[in-house]
Symmetry: C2
Subunit: 413 residues, 2 copies
């Protein structure tokens, strides 16, 4: 691991405080002559976590819980602070370290704390580590089931190394927010950075570079102006056509290992829209179509690539049978038609409109075709008519139905 | 049980249908020459429940699953209808019956199907039965813990008998909606009644009559114009003062056996408001106050009656220590101050305003004091200054702290 450890020691404890400090249930930062302290209210209404800066020269291993109690009492003065119970505590030196590589021969991979360590304050230890596992998980699954070429596993390293390096940089800059003394930032700067860090902490700022499974260079990104290839698909409210249910588009893209072609064909009222949808259904789902080509024979047509349609306009002006059957295929154990793939950008029954096209920046007269990975990252945005690009995209890593499953795995491993 | 059984036989089945009927995922009623059928889409996206009217002269015990399949196929014509699987089915004669009494000597009580039966279509069998148990549950609990007089148990009978009788009437009128032939209602009438029945089915229309624990006659109902004594408290969005969390007021009234005094003192900016709140704190929570009087000695001050404050105005213009300490008492295992009893009718951090005073019809210049039962039903609405009425209300059934717990139970049982 490459990195450094600062000489700043912090203590952390979960306590049941008896206090007259008024903001004990608010996320807050206290900077006093006695040091810095961060208040993180915990679940349940009574428990509170304190992060406490300890005096210079203290070694983490020498810290006792009584030192943390005393430091907190000093920092909270003139407010009263007693501890009814301390349910957990620790002390640590802030340090940021990154493994120099995340894999050995593409056979062994490191994830989580094994390849990046940092201070615990932004709650990113668990979150980023879970995302590491999520990233390599679906890739391993798709290779082992013979759906994709083993080379996609290497994108785990490039994608998550970039995120880990970003995390280390974030942690350094975030830690500086709590500095006291002459280097201390202004309260306004701290507040501003804290709010900006919210999107980062929520895991919505990662952007993966181009690879076999990200094609920003070949994308027509202007077709979905507010969608960034390589980042997570922003969610928007849509109405499910079959049952008029108002829901988030993200709910239509569960993490079940499937790739998704999210089709924005345009306005229902525009006669050209249904023509485009018919053509697309033919190129994607027809007997010689590209989706069957990348689907294992005997598997459901939506088992590797699922097409999701988001129309725009008055959902009461169309009928189910005007939508090409490829978008409501017969699937599953009961061989029933799956009606849950068609959505409309329209008012719901409470008169709330998601304005999905507008939020994603899709011009209804042009439409768009967005490829979404099994982990909800956007792989590419292509013109509606550009089925060739979709085919080329999947040809880079997808196994075709002409190969048997065992051939696909054995020849490539 | 008193009531009748009609000669109309219905079948019910949960099926995985293979069909081209377009509205299979929508709640729908089909009326055809072959009979009536109700579609209730089930959870999971594939399973559907059908209620099917069977031909006159059929006996429920003679019905086979094949009869239900055939009846459904006839009704769905000209649409195709096949059944991939039938996971459950039954047949029943519609009948409504009500027990002539719900108790024997106030020692044995009937709840649920033991005292009211009806058709299953509106999903009220389980819902009303759960509410029966909920109603008697908190009353038994408060009597057995010595907090209230045993006589309140009898309100179970009056309150739930009224609801059961209303359910039978609702079921008769609701069943008529599915009639075919010359008595059939118009589609518009069916649709209208279905929507109106929504509030009923959600359990929000029950209204309990006056008793020891409902005082509509003594209430000043004009102080909270949109609140009906004897009915459930409508929920509104408020902002919790201690942590600025936007939440529903109903969440502040969990079903933990406690009575609640929900205090609406008025505008924060009005100097009279804090004076009123101080006076109220004195009369309620002072050493000679009414709340300690009805609280077992040694128990927390909020263990039987909890006061909840809903102020109106700019929450940033007040500080915690301007609120009388009675409203943030020291309680619980850790003897910490409970800051979760004060709420503000104000914009939240997303600039959404709950307009709680307006929705409940409370005039901020007058305020109001609403007594809410442990089951969220409104017991009374009194003027802010009328602590005497609050005391009289609780004196009718509450045990005072002058009695020991065993005395209270033994002398009254």
């Amino acid at each position: 691991m490459v990195g450094d450890s600062s000489d700043t020691i912090w203590g952390v404890m979960d306590v049941y405080p008896r206090t007259d400090f008024p903001d004990i249930r608010k996320k807050a930062i206290i900077r006093s002559h006695a040091g810095s302290l961060i208040i993180i209210p915990r679940e349940g209404g009574s428990l509170v976590r304190f992060y406490i800066e300890l005096p210079h020269g203290v070694a983490a291993k020498d810290v006792k819980v009584a030192n943390l109690h005393e430091a907190a009492r000093q920092i909270f003065q003139p407010y009263r602070m007693e501890f009814a119970e301390t349910s957990w505590w620790s002390a640590y030196a802030i340090g940021q370290r990154l493994a120099d590589r995340f894999t050995q021969s593409s056979r062994v991979f490191l994830t989580g704390d094994a390849c990046h360590t940092h201070s615990p304050k932004a709650g990113q230890g668990m979150n980023v580590s879970l995302q590491d596992g999520y990233n390599i998980g679906w890739k391993l699954g798709s290779v082992l089931s013979g759906q994709t070429h083993p080379s996609i596993i290497n994108t785990y390293v490039t994608e998550r190394y970039k995120v880990a390096a970003g995390l280390i940089a974030f942690d350094r800059s975030f830690s500086r927010l709590f500095k006291t003394g002459k280097d201390a930032p202004t309260p306004e700067h701290v507040s501003e950075q804290f709010i900006m860090a919210g999107r980062y902490m929520a895991g919505l700022t990662a952007r993966y570079d181009d690879s076999a499974i990200i094609d920003s260079k070949g994308s027509a990104e202007n077709l979905a102006k507010n969608v960034t290839v390589g980042m997570r698909l922003p969610s928007v409210q849509v109405v499910r056509f079959c049952d008029a249910k108002s829901m988030q588009l993200a709910k239509a893209l569960p993490a079940d290992g499937r790739w998704r072609l999210v089709v924005f064909p345009g306005e229902i009222a525009d006669p050209a829209t249904m023509v485009k949808l018919q053509e697309l259904a033919h190129f994607l789902g027809g007997k010689q179509g590209l989706v069957p080509k990348f689907t294992r024979s005997g598997s459901d047509v939506d088992s590797f690539i699922e097409a999701i349609v988001v129309l725009k306009g008055n959902r009461l002006s169309i009928e189910q049978d005007q939508i090409p059957e490829y978008f409501w295929p017969v699937t599953g154990k009961w061989r029933m038609r799956d009606l849950h793939k068609v959505y409309v950008d329209d008012e719901d029954y409470k008169n709330i409109h998601g304005r999905a096209y507008q939020h994603l920046g899709v011009d209804p007269s042009k439409g768009a075709l967005i490829i979404v990975r099994p982990d909800q990252y956007i792989a590419a945005t292509y013109p509606l008519s550009d089925v060739r690009s979709v085919e080329n995209f999947f040809a880079h890593f997808g196994a075709t139905s002409l190969q048997s499953s065992s051939e696909r795995v054995s020849e490539r491993l």
